[in-house]
């Protein structure tokens, strides 16, 4: 009986698969569950749902389960699944769409991966090029604001990594700052403005 209630609690949205197909260009409905993608996925062992399971959940319209899974944040886009799929479904674009949907719809994302992406982009905005020391510093600060215990555990590990790298001459404290950095910042600002304008016109139009 308990199981029955739980099963009923999974809300379905049958347009979900179609939306993903449209935004990713991948025909998610043609998966027949051979599980080659799961077998070859390098990060499947840290996913809560395996790649083939996620595809089946998409087909069944289990929107909430899919968008709150760790799977979409652990995929690193190595394209092994897409190379091997007998139905030519590439999961990397599907995951990209799902990550964007999860952010847009305020599903608690796998926050650390998101903070990492953000820190990376901010480093480029600041210097024009990625600079590891300032990027890692920002990433860890963002983590601090979210979750203290995880932060301190992670910080010790990163300090060791950072110290190893500095001693090895692999990192430098001073970032390269390219001459065109103002142009890059202007592009960022313009891009942000354009995308919010587009969003508004989508909503109103």
């Amino acid at each position: 009986m308990a199981l029955g209630n739980k099963a009923l609690a999974v809300r379905t949205d049958l347009s979900f698969g179609d939306i993903i197909r449209e935004r990713s260009g991948e025909d998610v409905h043609s998966c027949y569950y051979c599980q080659k993608c799961t077998a070859g996925c390098p990060t499947a062992f840290v996913m809560d749902y395996k790649p083939a399971q996620l595809l089946r959940m998409i087909q069944l319209g289990q929107r909430e389960r899919v968008l709150s899974s760790t799977t979409i944040w652990m995929c690193i886009g190595c394209e092994a699944c897409g190379t091997r799929c007998p139905n030519q479904i590439r999961l990397a674009p599907v995951m990209d769409v799902l990550r964007q949907m999860a952010l847009d719809e305020d599903y608690a994302p796998e926050t650390a991966v998101y903070s990492l992406h953000r820190s990376f982009l901010d480093s480029i905005r600041m210097w024009g090029r990625m600079h590891e020391v300032t990027m890692l510093a920002q990433f860890k600060t963002l983590e601090l604001l979210k979750e203290y215990p995880v932060f301190f555990k992670g910080l010790l590990g990163d300090m060791k990594l950072g110290a190893d790298l500095l001693l090895n001459g692999k990192l430098s404290f001073i970032p390269d700052r390219i001459k065109g950095v103002d142009e890059i910042r202007a592009l960022y600002e313009e891009a942000a403005a354009t995308s919010s304008r587009e969003k508004e016109s989508e909503v109103s139009g």
């Binding site: 990713s24 390098p42 652990m74 650390a112 991966v113 990163d158 390269d176």
Partner: protein
Amino acid sequence: MGIPYFPGCTLSTNAKNYDRSARAVAKTLGLELEELPEWQCCGATFPLMLDDSMALIAPTRILYQAQQAGERVTTLCSICFNVLRRSQALLERDEEMLDRINWFTEQDYEGNVYVAHFLELLRDDLGWEEGPAPLAKHVKRPLTGLKAAPYYGCLLLRPYDEIGLDDPENPRILHDLLRALGAEPVDFPYNVECCGSYLMVKDPEVPETLSQEIVTSAGEHGADVVVTVCPLCQFNLDYPQRESAGTRTGSRIPVVYFTQLMAVALGLPEETWGFEDHYVDPKRLFAE
């Protein structure tokens, strides 16, 4: 005039030894690399959503700079290569997108620059054993007896439709290069597996687990050294071996860039090898 060259962020920080060895071998082979002026980061991810054009701005700016400098651009990092090659392919087939990006960046990219991995220049401009100026003929110090495991990783080869550099499941390009240098390429089942990529920052146990499998397997197939093309692969396979737990057998295997082996084989001076920046020291393999 040299070949327009996009080093990318990592080659100017974490992987200076890759950059240095590549420039040195390129010069010796008559393929001098000319760095693009004031380049910026490529963005490090190719946009996969059909409605995402923002992430194309950075790569297009680089392609535009390359257009000022010549007809093609070369790069070494697998991630930069993947992003630039796929962006170029997209802009070539989607004129509307090209116009949109040009309008946005106020540049006039024509969409015709060829993005070549440095390996491709070696294969197509020179050739391995035969060709216009075969690499094998430049070798001064053949790597005879060196068992080298070519590790391709993911982004150099996949997705095949957009990259098309080599067979995505059974690639040969590094094998051929190693043979031309006199080394013996070692096949092992993990040569196109992913190394775990940027999860090294967030969940290091993921790349460390993958690295252990990859390096152990290479060792079990007899490799003295693992050869890579990508700075992130190099780091993810080398760093976990700072402790002996890095491989399941406990024996540590150096992980080097193909350009470093080339510098040795072409008889270039030791300061171009860049072996000092490694966790597992490759120098002992080349002691006189």
